[in-house]
Structure formats: structure tokens, C-alpha cells
Symmetry: C2
Subunit: 318 residues, 2 copies
């Protein structure tokens, strides 16, 4: 095993940071880093935190991390900003400093940005989470911004996903989309001291009752709606309690196992796709693909016929 990897597994934070940078910078680095550490992973509980900009995710994540430290848990934090090629997490970094967490060896914080393409970000995030997990961090908080596929992808890496809402006028309720609700294990109304919190909770309750037909299965998880004020810490202990309850539920119900398997299957398919395409392009040549794209762009052929032709060509040539 590589020396840096060994050092990271032994708790060397600088080695960990170096490995993370390599995972971010070079998509192929994971092939060297992940295999030797993978067997050490699978212990951590991964908690996704998502919500619109301005919902107070950073403050909440810092508070939750601090609460976990009080409970003696080590915490890894990954801030992912799929909408920015710059390293996000500046705000979260501030919050972590505010709570005096940055000098704590039981906390590891890292922010990640896109650097090009987003599929890559989701994969790099998964690898970084695996690394933190293998290095012994017991709770891993993954903060993502925005609403959309990148979020759903990143949430799919989490065992427990918190979706933040804030009290607001009609416009904000619009942001409460069913797709986002579907990834939520726990709904958090943050800034619950603001006017309109009761209304937001009521809307969420109504939406949940509409979306969730009461299930007779004993092992179903009723999505709780919790109120927090991340700025002063109100409701954070209750939130962490709920996250832990959800973790216990996943383990007892067998859901965690099913989740891990589904995730592994999804990941394998994704990686296989990419590898199959890379091999195909290696065999057929970039040129042929570019030429076909030109023909599609000029409307000499359509994309569906083009793909057929490309694959038939190979069958014949092979």
C-alpha cells in the first residue's frame, strides 16, 4: 500500500487532505486510492444536508457537527457546491471557525467544487466520503446546494438526508418540490423563529400526508418535521436525536443493507458505462465520433440513426 494512504488510514490529516486533492484533480487517482482502503469503509453514517441557498445549511451543519462532538463522535464534513467551479464552502468554513471546530482533531472539513463536469463531482464526492469513512470518521455530513439532479445524486450517497426549508411567503413554498421531498428522511424548518414558521410546517405536514399513504408496514419511517434555529442552536439536539433514530431504523429494518446494495449497483452501472464508452472510443477512434457529430449537427443524419451506424460499423469491423 502507498505510504500516503497508509498514513491517512493511521489518522494523518495532511495525508488525507493530499489524497482528497488527488481524488478531485485526477479522475483516475481513485483507481489507486479506493481499492486498498475500501474494506475499511462502511462503518460511518453519512448524513446529507440539502436546501435552497439562504436556508442556513452552513450554520446548521456546523451546529450538528458541534453537537456530535459533544456526544463524542468524530465528524467529517464535505461541502459540495455543484453550481460553482470555485471551491464553495467558504461560508461553512466560517461557521466551523465560529464554533471553534477548526482546531478540533475530531473534525475534518473539506469543500469541493465542480472543476469541469458534474458527473465527476458526484463520483469524487462518493470517493471522498469513502475515504473519510475508511479513516474512521463516524458521522459524515455532506452539504449540497441547489435543487436538481446533482443534489439527488449526492443525496443518494447519504444514509440519512435532511432537507431544509425556511419560513417564507408563497414563492418559497413553490420551492418545496415533490422531487426534493422524495429524497428527505427528515424535514427541517430552519430559522423557525421567523414569522411564518407555523405556516411552513403546516404546508409540509399537508404535503407529507398527501404524499405518504399511511402504510401498514411497521418498519416504515414516518418523516419527521423538526424546527431549528441554527443561529442560536435551538432544536439541534432534537435533530441529532432524530438522525440517530433514523440510523437505528435503517439498521433494524434491513433498509441500510438494501440502500448500500442499490447504491453499489447504481455506481457499478455508472462506472461500467464510462469504461465501456472509453473502450469503444479507443477502438473506433475519436475521429469517427467527431465526424458523426458533424453529420448530426448538419442534419445529414439524426442522433438515433448515428448511434446505430456507429455501433454497426464496429460490429462489421470487429
Amino acid at each position: 500500500m502507498n505510504r500516503t494512504i497508509k498514513a491517512a488510514l493511521a489518522g494523518d490529516r495532511r495525508a488525507m487532505a493530499r489524497l482528497i486533492s488527488r481524488l478531485e484533480d485526477d479522475p483516475r487517482a481513485a483507481r489507486d486510492i479506493i481499492p486498498p482502503i475500501y474494506a475499511h469503509s462502511g462503518q460511518a453514517r453519512v448524513i446529507g444536508v440539502t436546501g435552497a441557498p439562504g436556508s442556513g445549511k452552513s450554520s446548521l451543519v456546523a451546529r450538528v457537527a458541534a453537537e456530535y462532538r459533544l456526544r463524542g463522535r468524530t465528524v467529517g464534513i464535505v461541502a459540495v457546491d455543484p453550481t460553482s467551479p470555485f471551491s464553495g464552502g467558504a461560508l461553512l468554513g466560517d461557521r466551523i471557525r465560529t464554533h471553534a471546530l477548526s482546531g478540533d482533531p475530531g473534525i475534518f472539513f473539506r469543500s469541493m467544487a465542480t472543476r469541469g463536469h458534474l458527473g465527476g463531482l458526484a463520483r469524487a464526492t462518493a470517493d471522498v466520503v469513502t475515504l473519510l469513512d475508511a479513516c474512521g470518521y463516524e458521522r459524515i455530513l455532506v452539504e449540497t446546494t441547489g435543487a436538481g439532479q446533482s443534489e439527488v445524486d449526492i443525496a443518494s450517497e447519504a444514509h440519512t438526508t435532511l432537507v431544509l426549508q425556511t419560513p417564507g411567503a408563497g414563492d418559497d413554498v413553490q420551492a418545496l418540490k415533490a422531487g426534493i421531498l422524495e429524497i428527505a428522511d427528515i424535514l427541517v424548518v430552519n430559522k423557525a423563529d421567523l414569522d411564518g414558521a407555523d405556516y411552513t410546517v403546516a404546508v409540509l405536514e399537508a404535503t407529507l400526508s398527501f404524499r405518504q399513504p399511511p402504510s401498514p408496514a411497521d418498519d416504515s419511517w414516518p418523516i419527521p418535521i423538526l424546527r431549528t434555529v441554527a443561529l442560536d442552536g435551538r432544536g439541534i439536539a432534537e435533530l441529532v436525536d432524530a438522525v440517530e433514530r433514523h440510523g437505528a431504523y435503517l439498521a433494524q429494518s434491513g433498509q441500510r443493507e438494501r440502500l448500500e446494495q442499490k447504491r453499489a449497483a447504481h455506481r457499478l452501472r455508472d462506472m461500467l458505462q464510462q469504461e465501456l464508452l472509453a473502450r469503444y472510443v479507443g477502438r473506433v477512434g475519436d475521429q469517427r465520433l467527431a465526424e458523426m457529430a458533424r453529420r448530426v449537427a448538419l442534419r445529414c443524419t439524426d442522433p438515433y440513426s448515428a448511434v446505430c451506424a456507429l455501433l454497426q460499423y464496429e460490429t462489421k469491423a470487429g
Copy 2:
């Protein structure tokens, strides 16, 4: 050629609506629908409109459509909501009725929702845009909500992308991410009659000046920042002027050709990946993939070694 397709190309709106439903419902329908119509497409100008919930996209899209109708252009409108499995666009539908556009044969409006997976939505949207284009709609407005990859994917189908901002407090400025800026061809400060519009414009100007080093190239497009009040129509004519100017810029600079080619290449790679995986799974069997996923989930192997093993197995077996 299929009768429904012929009817749609001849301007039959019900035939078009039926084809769109098929494109949404069945991923394989595109193989029958797109090839015969593709040669008719490539004439329309596709305009993406994106921005956070509450930024007034629906009102703006309806106003822009009405302005284009005044200028004698036919307009297709596609409202895409990547965060909801329900058909979005209810709001936009209302706006269209408000502006008495719904009875106008020069307008075609359709809202689309995810129905499962998001990759599918981006592809279905591209196909629907191709269909509207082939059926002769001259300007196609694609409205998307949220911030994230789905948006970037859908924006990549547009020739001109409008990014909406609204005046607001510090929190809102946070939403102005570089990644979203990067897809913008025109920045629109909507609700420009609200307090803080000057400040928002100033922030945008500062961000642009920071992001865009003044280029000596004559063919570069300086991203304009326009103010609109979609509710009463202020600034809409100027916005449509800017969109048309951008269209002329794309054509003259050769950018449109490059854009179309890049898009075609991206699409071919995406479709090839999927087809290669489908064929691979067909050859190797779902079982083998599921078994490997189980081993990854149990940490008996890691995803990278698993993919290697899967592909090696086939090489040997083949």
C-alpha cells in the same frame, strides 16, 4: 412516415401533443419519431430561461412569448421542472392564459416533468425541442427551475440562455453562483421595480467584470444585464432585442455551428454510453451485475476492482 408524424409536420397540434406524450412516456419512442423529422429541424432559435423559484420565470416567459407574437414569430414553449415528478408549468399555463396566448395557433405550450429519472428528462426535452423545431416553431422557449446539473444540461440545448435574478438581501446574492453565470448569455434582473435592484445589478456587474477578462477578440459576446418587470411588461421588448442580437452574433461568429456540433457530440456520447451498457448487460446478464453489487456493498471488493473484474470476465468469456 407514420401518419401522426406527417400530421404534426403539417401543423396538426393534436398530433404534436400526441407525439410529445409518447416521447415523455416511452424512452424508445424517440427512435421512431426523431429520425423522420430530424432533417426538418435546425431552423428554430432555442432560448433557455432559468432562475431560482420565485424569480418570475413564468411571467417573463409569457411576456417574451407575447412580444415575439407581436413581431410575427411563432413560439413553442416547454416548461421543465427537474425537481418534480408532477407536471410543473401550472403557473406558466396560467400566465399564458392571462396573456390570451392559449387560443393563439402561433403558440404551442407544453410542460414536462421527470417521470422517474432525470437523464431521461433532459433527453426527452431535447427531443421535444427538436419536434417543435421541425414543426416550424421559430422561437422555442425552454423554462427550467432550480440550480444544478439538470439545468445546465437543459441549458446546453439552448442557443441563448437567460438567467434571472431578483433584487434581494444578502442571501439571494449567494444564489448567484459562478456556474450559473457561466451558462448565461443574458442576465435579467426581473422585478426590477423592487428595492435593491440597483444593488443586484451592481453585484452582477462586479461579478462579470471579475469573471470576464476583457477579450481583444472582436467576436466575443459581452453579457448584457437587463432590467425587466415581467408583471407589467417593462423591459421585455429590450430583452427580446437582446435575444435577437445574440442570435445574430451566434450566426455571424460561427458560434452557432460550433455549439450545434458540440451538442451533437455530447448527445452521441451519452446515447452511446447507454446503448453500450444495455448491450453489455444483455450479454453478461443482470444477475452477474447484481451479484457484484452485493459484493461491493458487503466490502468484499471495491467498485473499481469490480468493474475491472466484470469487464475481464467478458473478455475471457467472449
